[in-house]
Symmetry: C2
Subunit: 281 residues, 2 copies
Amino acid sequence: MIVTIIGPGLIGGSIAIGLRESGFATRLIGVDRNADHAAHAVALGLVDEVRPLAEAIRESQIIVVATPVDSLVTLLPQVLDLVNNEQIVLDAGSTKGPALQAVAQHPQRARFVATHPMAGTEHSGPTAAVAGLFLGKCCVFTAIEQSAPDAVEVARRLYESLGMRITYLDGAEHDLHVAYVSHISHIASFALALTVLEKEREEDRIFELASGGFSSTVRLAKSNPDTWIPIFRQNRDNVLDVLDEFINTVSRFRTLLIKKDFETFEAYMRQANDISRIIDK
Amino acid sequence: MIVTIIGPGLIGGSIAIGLRESGFATRLIGVDRNADHAAHAVALGLVDEVRPLAEAIRESQIIVVATPVDSLVTLLPQVLDLVNNEQIVLDAGSTKGPALQAVAQHPQRARFVATHPMAGTEHSGPTAAVAGLFLGKCCVFTAIEQSAPDAVEVARRLYESLGMRITYLDGAEHDLHVAYVSHISHIASFALALTVLEKEREEDRIFELASGGFSSTVRLAKSNPDTWIPIFRQNRDNVLDVLDEFINTVSRFRTLLIKKDFETFEAYMRQANDISRIIDK
């Protein structure tokens, strides 16, 4: 298969590496409006060449759009304008509602499969692309009833060639779930980093003591705002709901500390320990 | 050197492994009031044998007290009651104020060096002990002016044999700094885990999507309440102050989302990105 990756960064570049390794892609074309990124993508061997959008699409059987979610909304209709009834378009967006809405009435809607391969790191750009990023992870397919069955089938084979398991959700469900299992973790991490960085102005030795636990909870605070601001903008309502619940939960811990009610505090901790059921599986 | 480890769990057991590997300890004796833990510590080879407290102390040159911080307050005076002017007592507590206060007037105070080797994982008990846990990490020595110089010197060599760098802080400074770089991370992680687990009751498929970012932020939520409740109890005032700042910071993010002020939101994220200066060094 000849595959175009629009936006060969962390996600698009890692997809490229995986598709080449699995043999799914025989040729990879990159499209990137950032000339530096485009050059890196070729130099790193993520794609074989970089081409303008229309040319790349003309030569490809599959087009993967892996840009930030704000660009996705304008790019997806443009890409669909250029594809025929054999070609397949996938996205990799972390939010699904606005992208689905942007193409809902497009005459080529059936050629698009809305997918979210759920993996990542706190790094970004082509240099962040890594082999095996998606192995064993979950890829969410949304609104597949609006996609042509042959397109869904090829998309399924593409992600399975990366070692992913596939889950089906509707767009609204997806956007709510990722607010819980991804977006709120990022805000908590950003807030934690800021809290400690602000203290550092008075206490310059504070970070001598930073240990592994601290590093793992603030790791996501290194994430790129160019990726994340569009996500928070598009998923604002869900993120706000989850943020309210998170603030309530943190405030419950605070109230228990004020009241010195360590019995209830401990009961909450033991409830939270149950998370090992999820993250150790 | 013959070393007794009181509480050969995650921390005490990992110290034992390191002291044996470096050759610092020629014989290791364990003391544990939990018979299962004691048996594990011997079976795993963390210590050569398990003995009652008084016997173990009598045979040792160094006694490391690595119990939860609530036991520390009662154990340290008992241990000091039993040591002569050649023996050295260390603790590994995550809070320093109450332990320092518990021994302040003890006639053998000078034989005690208050230390906090800052490393750990979310696991606990003898089976959690690992080689290399302390390598490259920071060990905080507090209130060393109250310890005999020879005791401080031996403690320094002991932790250096584990590959640690040593920092000196007073007890109050230590307890404030760890609230920022360790304790608050744990509460944020526990709250995040609880928030999502509570949602799971309605949305049973939510965790299918849990990815690496989620796992790293909630990893600490697996931590043992038996270790952490005594820490939160002893360091309650500092933790409350930091918790208030954290809630304020999260609430600022919330307000910006409500106002759709994504410019300021982005400016905060870019400030938080500066955390890479600390955790990537």
